[in-house]
């Protein structure tokens, strides 16, 4: 056998397209990101730690991550329900509902923010129903959870839907013919098949919620130590010209982002292998 050089492929344009892509990525993403890490590095470990261990910062972390977790969990439960209802059942207006599920993707976050803040304030259409019971949603951490649930809604639905659509109903029928009740069939046959997609959707919703700004700042109270999310704290520090502090916070959020990104990639790759 003759020795050949490894060919990338026979089509032309490899160096041009790859070169351009890498150049674009470097200019837009890599260089600015490294500027951020360098700036944070100039703080030194001690300085960095001092910034992120401040009580106000820790309170913001607790709110940001806690509310994101809660929102993603709510979406995991109700998103699964919505996906199930959309795939398995028929009802009037189903296609409109199906299209609207993507609204949080398409709607500008500021619009969502003011709409949710108005809707859930004590005078809003939903807020005034709950006010007599003493439940305040807007301007409390609960409002943050509501906003983050809105923002993550499509993620779970859209990752579970295709899996449910492709699900082989023969397995359900086999289970039923073997004597399983409907609930047993769901919990032991259908749900385990959906679990990986559910987990992926949950993680996607969580990752999106952690960094969310526009939909949250109107409905959150933005009171330090109580209802202040981390992205807002970054902006506050910027406005006070505390660039070092803002950078340290940004780097801490970037590190979380990277971890989440790797987790999502791993989950999606697992789901792919399972499909094949």
């Amino acid at each position: 056998m003759a020795i050949t050089f490894k060919k990338r492929g026979v089509l032309p344009g490899f160096s041009l397209t790859l070169g351009f892509s890498i150049l674009y990525l470097s200019l837009i993403v890599l260089i600015p990101l490294s500027a951020t890490f360098f700036k944070a590095g100039s703080l030194g470990w001690g300085g960095f730690w001092e910034v992120i261990s401040h009580p106000r910062v820790i309170a913001s972390y607790q709110l940001t991550f806690g509310a994101s977790l809660a929102g993603a969990a709510i979406n995991a439960v109700f998103g699964l329900l919505v996906a199930w209802v959309l795939v398995r059942y028929d009802f009037f207006g189903k296609r409109v509902v199906d299209a609207l599920v993507d609204l949080p993707f398409a709607l500008p976050t500021a619009v969502a923010g003011i709409a949710l803040a108005t809707l859930y304030s004590s005078k809003g259409w939903v807020g005034h129903l709950l006010a007599p019971y003493g439940i305040k949603i807007a301007y409390t951490p609960l409002g943050v959870v509501v906003a983050l649930t809105f923002i993550g809604l499509p993620f779970v639905v859209r990752t579970v839907q295709p899996v449910l659509e492709d699900f082989e109903t023969e397995l359900e029928e086999a289970a039923a013919s073997l004597g399983a009740t409907r609930w047993q069939t769901f919990s032991k046959v259908i749900f385990p098949a959906l679990a990986p997609a559910l987990l992926t959707g949950f993680t996607l919703a969580f990752a999106r919620a952690v960094g969310e700004y526009g939909s949250v700042i109107f409905i959150a109270g933005n009171i330090p130590m109580v209802s202040e999310i981390t992205p807002l704290l970054i902006i506050t520090k910027l406005e006070q010209y505390d660039y070092a502090g803002a950078t340290a916070l940004a780097v801490s959020m970037l590190l979380v982002s990277f971890v989440l990104l790797l987790a999502i990639n791993a989950l999606q790759r697992r789901a792919h292998l399972r499909k094949a």
């Binding site: 709607l107 003011i114 910027l238």
Partner: protein, 291 residues
Amino acid sequence: MSTAVATAPRAFNPARGEPSWVRWTLILIALAFLLGFLFLPLAVVFGQGFSKGWTVFWDALTEENALLAARLTLITALIAVPLNLVFGLAAAWSIAKFEFPGKSLLITLIDLPFSVSPVVAGLIYVLMFGAQGWFGPWLQEHDIKLIFAVPGIVLATIFVTFPFIARELIPLMQAQGTEEEEAALVLGASGWQTFWHVTLPNIRWGLLYGVILCNARAMGEFGAVSVVSGHIRGMTNTLPLHVEILYNEYNAAAAFAVASLLACLALVTLAAKTFLEWHLKQDAADLEPPA
């Protein structure tokens, strides 16, 4: 007790599904959830926008600062989307049609903006081009303003939106493979001819889909633009920033009027998305071998 094929008619077939009341309960719960988290927020935008009547609504939209904000939003999208389109095509071409080491790293990098907070996205450009940034002194010397000016807004928007088109095209072009392009080459087409006449028609629905999503995000971006913009009314305010200003001034009706415009954009995006998804499904079905 046997639940296998029964000869007497049953209330429901366990193999087929849940009893009717379970179905309807589930449907109602799902719709109630969507009501509170989807339908009502959308309705509030238009409801509040028109709460003071059509005149106030129209005035809010045609007021000078609103028009300038709309202009800036359009300009930003008109620059960011085509640039991201070129990037998306280039990246998808290199990733889908060739093999090279580091491909998955490249794909991960392309996904990066999705997991980065928009505020952080704006911040990294302030750190690069702001007065204290790496290039700050150089820019000031040459009297170039990037941050707190339009170019910064465009840059931040590009960062936040560039994955959309690439992510849509990469799996699409990977699924389509290289056979058709190779056939074109064998028949004597040049690279550009191959791309223009073979690849592009195959990916047109995915391309449009990515462009629609990219555009929706570019016009609606708030957090990243908020950080780099400086909020100078009439000059560095996009439509979402304008909505924020109006809302914070307790001018709710005007804020929601402008928000209604953006919500209409979102609804048009959703409609286009649904239409294009249908076409994409058709194309994918055509690619699969007959059952």
